[in-house]
Amino acid sequence: MHLVQDGDPRAFELLYDRHGGASFALAYRMVGDRVTAEDISQEAFLSIWRSRTRYQAERGSVRTWVLGIVHHRAIDALRRNLVHERRRSSAEGIEERHEAPERERTDVEAARREDARHVRSALGGLPQAQSRVIELAYFGGFSHSQIAEMLEMPIGTVKGRMRLGLEKLRQGLAEKVA
């Protein structure tokens, strides 16, 4: 990452190779449209390139930093109504999947797929009322007040379910690591 921060384009290309697929997948999951998802990924990676000196390792992994920026941009796109037909968050959010190229089927890739299964398992272990508000917020880009209106429940209930769900998810992930 320090080479990226020094402005080395080849290092940045490697960073894209490592995190571009996950970034696009997250944007695609959120907006449900390939073209918009690619625009979001493009904007996010340009932003990453131009703000590369801001990354601080002590604040988290590169992947978390990159995906955080993509997530923020996707929410921004959703709230700017760039996506006219919002896709409600669901387990079937991604309709079109592609296998990673042969060269990417490395140990790292296998570990990431295993990690993805763990997170999905922990998320799937939440009560549906909690996972629903978390998915609507994180992947759907809806604000807490929009979710409250959508589910016809008080805002306080929505926030409470988010907190309980995240708390259980945190515990579930910790147990899997232990």
Binding site: A22, I69, Y138, H144
Partner: protein, 250 residues
């Protein structure tokens, strides 16, 4: 710590880390968190769970053109950074560009080449300089925009396109197209920036069998009128030889 304010924000850490607060709510909450250790601890406690959520999504491969377009802009940035003084010389050969360059230089003062290098670095690093993480980017940095293209439907009936412009329009953008017909081996698509009556060539590109393509727009778009595409002979043209098949009005 103001207890009443904590009561107001006590349930905000979870929607905050999930991105479910509105912009104004985020500002108010971040202001509160700066003075409230309880909420700060709660944010730090819940954040790893929220950060894990994108890891649940299976990777999906984006189009190859995405990487090509991205790297074209990155390489252009690097060229601008490394060849700042040469940029002044090259730009001075182009009517209009020199005036813009002088305008920038006069704002920065100092010797021309040095001042341009300084201005260039300021644009390069300064656009998104500062804190860390998506939630810490400023509103200016977050902005960016996607502008839809107008297509000549008679000549490109199934075409579409858009221009992705970063927060600073001075940094150019990336033009992406879909559904364009692949041209014969003696032709290419050429991208132009129109500013006043001037047409400035940007890049050449071709599309694959799927009709997808992308091209870098490296010029300053701040005072440009439009970004356009024409079809030209291989190697490109000095001036457009036909009316644009695609136009992005700015």
């Amino acid at each position: 710590m103001n207890v009443e304010r904590h009561d107001i924000h006590a349930e905000d850490p979870a929607p905050y880390v999930l991105g479910a607060l509105t912009e104004s709510e985020v500002r108010r909450f971040e202001s509160h968190v700066a003075a409230c250790a309880v909420c700060r601890d709660e944010v730090e406690r819940l954040r790893p769970a929220a950060d894990a959520l994108p890891r649940s999504v299976e990777p999906v491969n984006p189009a190859a053109g995405l990487k090509q377009a991205l790297m074209a802009v990155v390489e252009a940035d690097v060229r601008e950074r490394d060849g700042a003084s040469e940029t002044v010389a090259a730009a001075s050969k182009r009517p209009g560009a020199l005036a813009r360059m002088r305008k920038r230089l006069s704002a920065g003062g100092g010797r021309p080449a040095l001042a341009w290098a300084s201005a260039s670095c300021a644009l390069f690093v300064g656009v998104l300089a500062g804190g860390y993480g998506a939630t810490q980017l400023t509103a200016e940095e977050q902005r960016g925009q996607t502008v839809a293209a107008k297509i000549d439907e008679e000549r490109l009936p199934s075409g579409s396109g858009s221009l992705v412009v970063p927060a600073s329009m001075r940094d150019g953008g990336v033009l992406r197209v879909h559904g364009l017909p692949a041209l014969d081996s003696n032709s290419v698509y050429q991208v132009w920036v129109r500013r006043g009556g001037e047409m400035i060539s940007q890049s050449l590109f071709s599309v694959g069998q799927d009709g997808e393509g992308a091209a870098a727009v490296t010029d300053d778009l701040e005072d440009a009128d439009a970004v356009l595409i024409t079809r030209e002979d291989i190697g490109g043209a000095k001036a457009p030889s036909e009316n644009p098949v695609l136009t992005v009005p700015l």
